[in-house]
């Protein structure tokens, strides 16, 4: 079983695999996001309480979900980088950080834009908004640390350790913010059983969610390729890529 993983983790193999994968993933992302956004803006009826403002969830919920998943991915890649020192894991960790941070910021701002009509103020010490803000700080820590250490491999391992401790902290932060803040709006989809969203409201949301994850795949693969080129500079396969890139 182990050999295929080792083969996949070899930079040139993964680089070429990414090149083949990105177009399909991109197509899938475009389709899903297209349907999600189109559905969210047009097909879904306005919410009887929030009116059209609820359409913001088609952007806010995918971004918030992704911001958390990317941090967990970074912690997993960090663990692999620290324990087995696999170069590909280091690239995934370093590449995922800025993407995760951008979606966390998006989730935060769209949460505030959604909060203004609902609660009358852009910033409300709501449990989820506050957790999202702290998550953004955790991302900033990883990105800051990565840029501060010159040697890329040592930097990636340091960020791996930070992401590992950070990911353990995420549920603790979430619980403590929730404990501290009784005003907590239940998250709309995760309420299983009685979804208070009608089917034609929920379908575009799932599409937008999946589309966002596919989009993340595309962005991550492209950045990982960049990191691989940098870390494998001077090797035969990188030289070969350089030649084909110019032709």
């Amino acid at each position: 079983m182990w050999t295929w993983f080792h083969r996949l983790a070899s930079p040139p193999t993964f680089y070429r695999l990414a090149d083949r994968l990105v177009p399909w993933l991109g197509l899938l992302a475009a389709g899903l996001l297209g349907y999600g956004i189109f559905g969210g803006l047009l097909l879904a009826p306005a919410d009887y309480q929030q009116g059209d403002a609820f359409r913001i969830i088609y952007v806010h919920v995918p971004a918030a979900a992704l911001s958390l998943s990317v941090y967990v991915l970074m912690a997993a890649a960090g663990a692999v980088a620290v324990i087995w020192r696999i170069k590909l894991a280091e690239c995934v960790l370093v590449a995922a950080a800025p993407i995760g941070a951008s979606f966390t910021a998006l989730a935060l701002v769209t949460g505030m834009l959604w909060g203004k009509p609902m609660w009358g103020a852009y910033w409300v010490w709501d449990a989820r908004l506050t957790s999202e803000l702290i998550l953004l700080f955790l991302y900033a820590g990883v990105i800051g640390l990565n840029q501060a250490i010159e040697e890329p491999r040592a930097a990636a391992r340091a960020c791996g350790l930070l992401a590992l401790i950070g990911v353990i902290n995420v549920p603790i932060v979430h619980y403590s913010v929730e404990w501290w803040n009784s005003l907590h709006q239940g998250s709309t989809i995760l309420k299983l059983g009685r979804p208070n969203m009608s089917a034609d409201m929920a379908r575009p949301l799932y599409a937008a969610l999946l589309g966002t994850y596919c989009f993340f795949g595309v962005a991550l693969l492209r950045r990982v390729q960049n990191e691989l080129l940098l870390r494998e500079r001077g090797t035969a396969w990188v030289k070969e890529q350089l030649r084909s890139a110019h032709v």
């Binding site: 306005a46 009116g51 971004a63 834009l113 492209r222 080129l229 030289k239």
Partner: protein, 48 residues
């Protein structure tokens, strides 16, 4: 497109603001790696 679509039941600023930002984030996440790739290729090929 009917005007009520654009004004989003009075929440136009918030809804279109959110979607605009989302578009910006998606664009940045597509563009940034492409620009960086360009710089990397330039830097590496100069070292050949």
């Amino acid at each position: 497109m009917s005007s009520s679509f654009w004004n989003m039941g009075g929440y136009a600023v918030y809804v279109w603001g959110s979607y605009g930002l989302a578009a910006a984030v998606l664009a940045w996440n597509l563009l940034a790696p492409r620009l960086r790739r360009h710089d990397i290729l330039k830097e590496l090929s100069a070292e050949e």
